[in-house]
């Protein structure tokens, strides 16, 4: 951990080497986070870039109270959210017939599914579903927090999550078939 503290201290002083070290240490992991929020790698990399710029410009505000990893992730996720908001109108919305799809029970082993496949699934989710699924299921935010972050009600968050899950299930079944 001393290593990490030194890197952070260096970054606070604006040391280029420390910034590069921090980037090398976390960029792959954070791109992994960004990829879940965007349809393709280009958008994810854009958000990653913006996120790291924010991290470096604000790293003096990190007070070592929680884990740096968590702090960094929060900034990256927030950047992704902002990015999403500013591009909101460009995204297509979900087709109606896809919502009404009845989800059947299927016997499916998740063990056989690899990360890339699941990532593609998440990326294929309509924008709003993807956001809430990521925030709730993977990042672990509560519906209340998500409501505040996205400016929606708790119930909207809950129902969107349910729909996202149904959608994923449906996609899983279709792909396996």
């Amino acid at each position: 951990m001393i290593f990490e503290e030194e890197i952070i201290c260096g970054c606070i002083k604006g040391d280029k080497k420390a910034q590069k070290a921090l980037y090398d240490k976390y960029s792959a992991k954070m791109l992994g986070v960004c990829l879940r929020y965007f349809k393709n790698i280009d958008e994810a990399e854009d958000a990653l870039q913006e996120g790291f710029i924010r991290v470096f410009n604000n790293i003096d505000k990190f007070r070592n109270e929680g884990s740096f990893d968590g702090w960094l992730r929060r900034i990256i996720v927030n950047t992704a959210l902002n990015y999403y908001r500013s591009n909101l109108k460009h995204y297509y919305s979900i087709d109606y017939d896809e919502i009404e799809e009845v989800v059947e029970d299927a016997k499916l082993s998740f063990d056989s599914l690899n990360v890339e496949f699941l990532l593609n699934l998440i990326q294929s989710l309509p924008e709003g579903y993807r956001l809430i699924f990521n925030l709730y299921e993977i990042e672990g935010y509560s519906h209340k927090e998500i409501g505040i972050m996205l400016g929606i009600s708790i119930n909207t968050s809950k129902s969107q999550l349910m729909k996202a899950k149904k959608y994923l299930q449906h996609k899983l079944i279709t792909k396996v078939k």
Partner: protein, 358 residues
């Protein structure tokens, strides 16, 4: 696969350690965009640095104290003895306020002790003392220590004035009468610190419908500063979006407490969608339509159970009369999906079913 819960766990597990290396150009872009920070900042991450700095200041100050004290005792001026007497009496009360040690002697050893006490207090508040100390005499040193002390309290000005006068008094050999009344503000500093923190509480988080008002309040305290800029104990807010309000409360003793109250705004103005209609021409519920205000970009699609689209519209005021291509539709259940942008600029999708009765 089971529904819901398991799926989230599996995704979480799979993505926990997922990494992907970004392309090289990303770092170049970041490097170019990050503003250079030329001023190195104090490193707060390692308490050891702070301790080393503090120790250095203490050491330098003690050394200075010795040198200055010795110089003064050796001054061949006629009034030097008297001067020192006055001086010690002046120093003593100030020191006494800052530490529980009782010092009345004029011996150098005692002064030495005093100086340590002062410095220990200084360390908490300020680490920039080092340079100015070297050039100044002992009175200014005390003045400075005192000033640094009072940064946290409310008597900065008083203390600054006080210490200046103390220094002057010493230099001009003034008698003690002038000095005594000046010592009371110093005492105040200490008193304000020793009081216990009073209890301040904040009204709980609230959820309101859009358009409603919420009253936020603080219990206790004498002065308030809300994030809205208001300075009252109660504020009335009317947010369109869920908002966090913060408030800084100061109590009688100058202690401050910050509170955060979250007002969650719920979208209560959901449109009314009937669940049945009877297009039989009797004048009651002959058409199916959505009733709602503040709806934008409205879209509706109604689908029959066989999957046929029976009605589609982008106008919230347009109603379905229960016909398909001019022919009366069958009795039964029809599924609709409605999409619109609500007052909060959020897209809403509502699905449900409506029963056609003849």
């Amino acid at each position: 696969m089971e529904t819901g819960k398991n799926m989230g766990d599996i995704f979480r597990e799979v993505f926990k350690d997922y990494e992907k290396k970004p392309s090289d150009k990303i770092w170049d872009n970041i490097e170019n965009a990050v503003k250079p920070q030329t001023v190195p900042q104090i490193n707060f991450f390692k308490p050891i640095n702070l301790m080393i700095g503090s120790a250095a200041i203490i050491a330098v100050s003690i050394l200075l104290f010795f040198i200055v004290s010795n110089k003064q005792s050796q001054t061949p001026r006629a009034a030097s003895d008297k001067e020192q007497l006055v001086e010690n009496k002046q120093i003593t009360p100030i020191v006494k306020d800052q530490s529980p040690l009782l010092i009345s002697s004029k011996k150098t050893n005692e002064l030495h002790k005093n100086s340590i006490t002062i410095q220990n207090n200084t360390v908490e508040n300020n680490v920039t003392l080092e340079k100015p100390v070297k050039k100044q005499n002992i009175h200014d040193l005390i003045a400075q220590v005192d000033n640094n002390q009072s940064v946290t309290g409310d008597v900065v000005k008083q203390n600054a004035l006080n210490t200046k006068l103390v220094s002057k008094a010493t230099n001009s050999n003034t008698n003690q009468k002038n000095i005594e009344p000046l010592q009371s503000p110093v005492n105040n500093t200490i008193v304000s610190r020793s009081l216990p923190i009073s209890t301040i509480s904040f009204s709980p988080d609230q959820t309101i419908c859009k358009g409603e008002k919420a009253t936020l309040s603080v219990n206790g305290g004498i002065s308030f500063l809300w994030s809205t800029g208001e300075k009252t104990q109660y504020i009335l807010v009317n947010p369109l979006l869920s908002t966090d309000y913060s408030v800084i409360v100061t109590d009688e003793t100058g202690n401050r407490k910050t509170g955060l109250i979250t007002v969650t705004v719920a979208d209560c103005n959901a449109p009314f969608i009937p669940n049945a209609f009877s297009p039989n021409g009797d004048g009651n519920s002959d058409v199916f339509k959505v009733y709602g205000d503040a709806i934008r970009n409205f879209e509706i699609i109604i689908i029959s159970r066989s999957g046929q689209t029976v009605f589609a519209s982008k106008n919230v005021n347009e109603a379905w009369d229960g016909t398909i291509k001019g022919r009366p539709a069958q009795e039964g259940v029809y599924v609709y999906t409605i999409k619109y942008i609500n007052e909060l600029n959020k897209e809403q999708v509502i699905s449900g079913h409506v029963t056609l009765i003849r």
